[in-house]
């Protein structure tokens, strides 16, 4: 089953839309798709043209294509367990929250909290992702727990905060405090990063570029060769009784 959702222009384009029902699961279960626009609930069709083509015998046979301006459409793919969502342009916050299966592919950029508390499945973002990519919730002690996120552009601050499992690849740079409080999982940053792995207790992080403002409480464990490059190996965060591994090609301290 192919579903095409095309968001139309709105009178007030700044009011966000909360669309947690845009998931293959909801369409598979034939639910009435309602979304929140500000403090009102409306049927999705009031804001978007929805085309449905074919049938599906399982959630994995459902593909959703999102077109039009979806930069303020939040929570798309929340709790999805299978199937596929493709977004032609940009997507709003919390895309793929709690997802446990299936695939989300974003051809533009994603706003904050992409793949928050994700448990499984796959997210690919071809441009940039905002702050808190693959992170947790406020006060939560475990962020992303499984699955994979790959961002071809750069990401904002607090990327992979509280990450406890799964795999994340960032092809560009990260903002400040990437992998803060990291507990598990594997994060690879191909660009530069800042104050990376602060307070980490476990997990593994590779930085192919430069780690600026290195946290001063990591133990130096020498160098290793990996992927044809020489990485400095750090263990920490000692301040937090941590046992995580940070490998970085270059690093500088704030002086």
């Amino acid at each position: 089953m192919n579903i095409t959702i095309t968001f139309r222009n709105r009178r007030n384009p700044f009011i966000p839309i909360e669309a947690e029902m845009i998931t293959p699961d909801a369409f598979f279960n034939n639910k009435e798709i309602c979304v929140g626009e500000g403090n009102r609930m409306v049927h999705l069709t009031e804001l978007a043209d929805v085309g449905i083509d074919g049938t599906a015998s399982s959630v994995d046979e459902i593909e959703i294509l999102i077109r039009g301006d979806a930069a303020l459409v939040k929570r798309v793919g929340e709790y999805m367990t299978g199937g596929k969502i493709t977004i032609e342009g940009n997507i709003g916050m919390h895309c793929g929250n709690f997802m446990s299966g299936g695939k989300i592919e974003i051809h533009g950029s994603a706003d904050g909290w992409l793949g928050r508390e994700m448990k499984g499945g796959e997210i690919i973002c071809h441009e940039n992702a905002g702050d808190y990519c693959a992170s947790g919730y406020r006060g939560g002690r475990r962020g992303m727990r499984g699955g994979s996120v790959e961002v071809f552009g750069s990401v904002g601050d607090f990327t992979c905060e509280h990450i406890a499992g799964g795999e994340v690849m960032i092809h560009g740079n990260t903002g400040d405090f990437a992998c803060a409080e990291m507990k598990g999982g594997i994060v690879t940053i191909f660009g530069d990063t800042s104050r990376v792995c602060a307070n980490m207790s476990g997990g593994t992080c590779y930085v192919y570029g430069s780690a600026v403002e290195m946290i001063p409480t990591f133990e130096k464990k020498g160098t290793i060769s990996h992927d044809g490059l020489l990485f400095h190996h750090f263990r920490g965060d000692v301040a937090n009784r941590g046992n995580g591994d940070l490998y970085t090609v270059r690093f500088t301290y704030l002086q």
Partner: protein, 566 residues
């Protein structure tokens, strides 16, 4: 004036000596009356179990510490959110619900009165503000005195009457209901990061032992003729081997009141541990229960632990710090100058964890091994052992050996060697449960005469009607029905009005705050005592005149004036 006639109610009212009689109950205004008026709204109860409104004699629902538990836990808040519905406001929170959440959910369980277990006097205003937003239950606040410098100094000087006078002034000022001691001496020692490990150990900053504080407080309590006894959270909470401290404490308690106990010991599950460390940790519920069986002057509550996530919060600051060191999770602490401490940490009690499994067993054992249900009341020390919404499951565990055995199969396999639970055959009956959830509380709190905990004419019309037909259920086998039945009343009636119907709060309600005011002769009025004034002047960070909770905070309230022996 609203008038209601409940017909064909299957009534258990232990205080009135009614056990399973199908009868009618007439309500006029806020009270139960002899005869129904012809204009009454008639509700046919069709033989459903009808009990006096539930009373929780030890819970944490309001005040600084509880609110901080919410404040620091957005992950708990999002776990229990409901939206606005009719008269019901939005609620958030699972283990520490918002005030409306507490009130609605307790009401759905048939509870109409709540005792906030620990109110720091300096922060009492906060507790009363939250009471205002707990519309469906009457409120009582235990005021913390464990580290009260004025009282401790009087004890040091051997002046029990002065101590009583200070307690009287403080209770009146903060609109408190009873004397609460939490880890007496320990919270004061925690002011410098220390704790007390034995009731006979002298505390670092006063020439006193916990035993002396407890004995002194019991005497002062009786001098003031307070309705409730001293309400004690023993020293060494949560420590392996603490049962000897608990038994030692109970041994110090005289029998000085013929209407009720002389000491109420709370959440005794947490105080009935054997072993010398976590390695040989085991249940010592048997000696503790035996001690209670021999000592009618003691009433305890269970402090039952149930599996799952919750938040622990207590005035026992040093104990919470120990828990923090074990879990290395988030930890809050809040010492209150000249008075007490407090701490909060989230916990997750796991079936696969041996210590947690033993804790779970101990609470049940206490309830089953204490012979008289009047001496062991049902609590989880909400939310410390579990959120109160688990009460129906606890009731089912106490009524069904089969259910206990089924649950026992799921806990840590070594539990069996450390606890007596599997060997206990006793199953509590409907009457026992009615005692342990309302009648026993009313007696222990000394509020029977205020019309609480019973259904005789003149009593407050606080009534819970459950969708349970006792004659048609075998609790021992059909424990699922017990859980369902106690989870949601058909009707909860508060002060003569139906406040909750099948889980939904249907009116805004308005509660009453009960507080005490001992009548103290002028010579013992601390308001004009220069030494007492100096304590404020020099060491408190608020002025004495700004300390008392103003009447504005009370709205509907009932002041219990007591005659004193000062």
């Amino acid at each position: 004036m609203a008038e209601i006639l409940l017909k064909n109610a299957y009534v258990i009212d232990p205080i009135s000596g009614i056990n399973g009689e199908v009868m009618d109950i007439a309500i006029s205004g806020s009270r139960i009356v002899e005869d129904a008026s012809p204009h009454s709204e008639v509700i046919d109860c069709q033989g459903l179990l009808t009990l006096p409104g539930g009373i929780d004699s030890h819970t944490h629902t309001s005040g600084t510490k509880v609110n901080f538990g919410r404040y620091m836990s957005p992950e708990d808040m999002r776990a229990g959110r409901t939206s606005k519905k009719g008269h019901m406001h939005i609620t958030s929170g699972y283990s520490v619900p918002t005030t409306y959440g507490n009130s609605y959910r307790y009401s759905a369980l048939g509870y109409t009165s709540l005792v906030e277990g620990a109110m720091a006097p300096l922060e009492a205003r906060h507790t009363h503000e939250e009471f205002k937003f707990t519309p469906l239950q009457d409120s009582f606040a235990n005021a913390l005195f464990d580290g009260n410098w004025g009282m401790l100094r009087a004890f040091e000087d051997g002046d029990i009457k002065r101590a009583a006078a200070i307690i009287a002034w403080t209770l009146t000022a903060v609109k408190g209901f009873a004397i609460k001691l939490t880890n007496p001496g320990g919270t004061e020692a925690w002011g410098f990061g220390k704790n007390i490990s034995c009731i006979n150990e002298t505390i670092p900053t006063f020439d006193l032992t916990p035993a002396e504080i407890i004995k002194g407080a019991i005497k002062a309590n009786e001098l003031l003729h307070l309705p409730h006894s001293v309400h004690l959270h023993c020293n060494n909470l949560g420590t392996p081997g603490n049962f000897s401290c608990t038994i030692g404490t109970f041994g110090h308690v005289p029998d000085v009141n013929d209407k009720r106990q002389s000491l109420y010991a709370t959440h005794v599950q947490f105080h009935s541990y054997g072993g010398s460390g976590w390695g040989d940790f085991c249940s010592k519920s048997e000696p503790v229960a035996n001690m209670v069986n021999f000592r009618p002057q003691i009433v305890i509550d269970m402090g039952q632990v149930m599996f799952g996530r919750t938040t622990t919060m207590t005035a026992d600051g040093p104990m919470e710090f120990n828990l923090y060191r074990l879990h290395h999770d988030k930890w809050s602490n809040h010492d209150v100058e000249l008075e007490t401490g407090s701490g909060i940490i989230p916990v997750n009690y796991r079936r696969k964890n041996l210590v947690n499994s033993i804790m779970w067993a101990i609470g049940l054992e206490l309830a089953l091994l204490v012979k008289s249900p009047w001496q062991c009341l049902l609590t989880t020390d909400n939310p410390n052992g579990a959120p109160f919404v688990k009460y129906p499951e606890i009731i089912a565990l106490l009524m069904s050996k089969k259910y206990r055995d089924a649950e026992f199969e799921t806990v840590h396999q070594d539990t069996e060697k450390r606890v007596p639970l599997p060997a206990i055959e006793r199953e509590l009956d409907w009457h026992d449960i009615a005692v342990m959830t309302r009648a026993g509380q009313a007696r222990a709190l000394g509020i029977i005469d205020l019309g609480k905990g019973h259904l005789s004419p003149g009593a407050e019309a606080d009534i819970a009607i459950y969708p349970i037909k006792p004659d048609e259920i075998d609790p021992s086998a059909e424990y699922e029905k017990i859980i369902q039945g106690f989870a949601q009343t058909e009707y909860t009636i508060k002060r003569g009005r139906i406040v909750s119907r099948r889980g939904d709060a249907i009116i805004d309600g308005e509660n009453t705050t009960f507080w005490v005011k001992p009548k103290v002769p002028a010579a013992y009025d601390m308001q004009h005592d220069t030494v007492f004034q100096e304590l404020f002047e020099r060491y408190y960070s608020v002025r004495m005149s700004n300390y008392p909770v103003q009447e504005e905070y009370l709205h509907r309230n009932h002041c219990i004036e007591t005659e004193t022996d000062l």
